[in-house]
């Protein structure tokens, strides 16, 4: 199966060709925004992290920000720092430049303030846009793909139709030598025993049980019932009664291949095949984590019809709910609701999603890309100081 993409200096393949302005810290967002306003052909990546974070949280934010910059869909990155933050622009630029793509950084304080930082940033961007504009797509195979899979606004059609249809696509990608990353740890609670049976090693099995236990322990430490947060009110309205029911449907989206490893949030897999990424189910954080893990494309089953997108990785949204397919056409890329009506098999539905994956990889804009819908939101587990 042939696709076309932009081959990066490290051999990875991008299916989009973004020039990115990346804030290393939330305080630099204003500067990044001003530059993006001057250069509307760039992709602006702002967030609220980068400082005042402790231990694991800081590591996780740094890893995710570097991972976003490394994503093969990005041709070049300008990192904007303030110069006083804990996740520095210099560190991110150094990490991202391990991919050998074009990377520059500047910090507002070192440049002598905002007015001095803007023209310097502008010169970098001018050069990067020129270089990126001359890159062309070449033919490549599915082995170049890291597919992210995440479900959102789940209802009971997700576990019956869209998730299993996407699971078939995940299996096809892996059979073609590619990589699939799925996650959402709360949405494994109650189904971990099924997934754990597919672990390639006892270590992977233990890792899976560990992240699920840690997740459930955080809920218990809060003193709260998980219901209302997950399943969320939209899930409950869609017929999902408990987290166990949601999880048993949710794990189907990852397909049926062996589980090669459990990744930290925003961590890039080291091999091919199926990986589970630890992290929350909430859509903006989950999508950001998948883009940070290197997913060039994300497939997103949604019963209720979420408009979700990721700025870096095109998101293909698939619904198994016939009403959603009718009512929310602007959100839905692929309608597999014929499964529910008994008019289509899961295999036929999987084939239609797979075909759309090939189209999107080769350049077709998804619904959320057409709307420029999406945000960077990094999972935060501890306090901000």
């Amino acid at each position: 199966m042939k696709l076309s993409g932009y081959v990066r200096p490290d051999g990875s393949v991008g299916f989009r060709n973004h020039v990115v302005i990346l804030s290393s810290v939330g305080c630099a967002n204003d500067v990044s925004q001003k530059l993006a306003h001057m250069y509307p052909n760039t992709l602006l990546l702002t967030h609220r992290q980068g400082c005042g974070q402790l231990g694991e949280d800081k590591e996780q934010a740094a890893r995710t920000l570097a991972g976003l910059g490394k994503n093969p869909n990005i041709a070049a990155v300008l990192v904007i720092g303030m110069g006083c933050e804990s996740i520095t622009a210099e560190y991110l630029a150094e990490e991202i430049s391990k991919t050998k793509k074009s990377v520059e950084y500047l910090t507002v304080l070192e440049e002598g303030g905002l007015m001095a930082a803007l023209p310097k940033g502008a010169r970098f961007l001018d050069q990067m846009i020129s270089e990126a504009s001359q890159m062309t797509r070449v033919s490549c195979g599915l082995d170049a793909l890291t597919l992210g899979v995440k479900c959102g606004l789940t209802d009971t059609t997700s576990g019956i139709a869209s998730n299993p249809a996407i699971g078939i696509v995940a299996d096809m990608v892996i059979e073609s030598g590619g990589t699939v990353v799925f996650g959402e740890t709360p949405e494994v609670i109650g189904a971990e025993h099924i997934l754990a049976k597919r672990a390639t090693t006892p270590g992977v099995e233990q890792d899976l049980y560990r992240v699920v236990k840690e997740c459930e322990e955080r809920v218990k430490a809060s003193g709260m019932d998980i219901r209302g947060a997950n399943p969320a009110p939209g899930n409950i309205a869609g017929g999902i009664t408990t987290i166990e029911e949601k999880s048993l449907g949710a794990i189907k989206k990852g397909g049926g291949k062996k589980l090669q490893g459990v990744l930290g949030y925003g961590e890039i897999p080291k091999g091919k095949g199926l990986y589970f990424m630890d992290g929350p189910g909430r859509t903006p954080e989950a999508l950001t984590g998948l883009s940070g893990a290197g997913a060039q494309i994300i497939i997103f089953p949604t019963g209720g019809g979420s408009p979700a997108g990721s700025l870096i990785s095109p998101v293909i949204k698939v619904t198994g709910n016939p009403r959603t397919a009718q009512r929310l056409k602007d959100h839905i890329d692929i309608d597999v609701s014929r499964i529910i009506k008994g008019e289509s098999t899961l295999e036929e539905a999987g084939e239609s999603v797979f075909q759309e994956l090939l189209n999107v990889a080769s350049g077709k804009a998804t619904k959320s890309e057409r709307l420029s819908y999406g945000m960077i939101s990094i999972w935060n587990i501890g306090p901000h100081m």
Partner: protein
């Protein structure tokens, strides 16, 4: 006739593929077979009803797995949802 689906033969609930009114007869698909059940009340598309009596404290089973526990007796054809089922996991309120 309005339809519902049972995902695994071990399940004691079915998922509705249409909105139903009280006393509607529903055609339920269980694998390759179909059976008929009368629902006791109006229930929305995508929601579940009991395929047999589920006593208070008994497990509710879907996908052949336990999805929670009945908090009251549920009769065949009755809506099965958050009002009569509780989750057994992630219960910080019980910790």
């Amino acid at each position: 006739m309005k339809k519902a689906i049972v995902i695994d033969v071990k399940d004691n609930v079915a998922t509705l593929l249409a909105d139903v009114d009280a006393n509607d007869e529903v055609q339920v698909m269980v694998g390759d077979k179909t059976t008929e059940t009368k629902v006791q009340e109006g229930i929305q598309f995508g929601h579940k009803f009991a395929m047999k009596k589920i006593s208070k404290g008994q497990n509710v089973v879907k996908y052949g797995e336990v999805i929670g526990q009945a908090t009251q007796d549920i009769v065949e054809g009755q809506h099965v949802h958050v009002h009569n089922v509780e989750s057994l996991r992630g219960r910080g309120d019980l910790a």
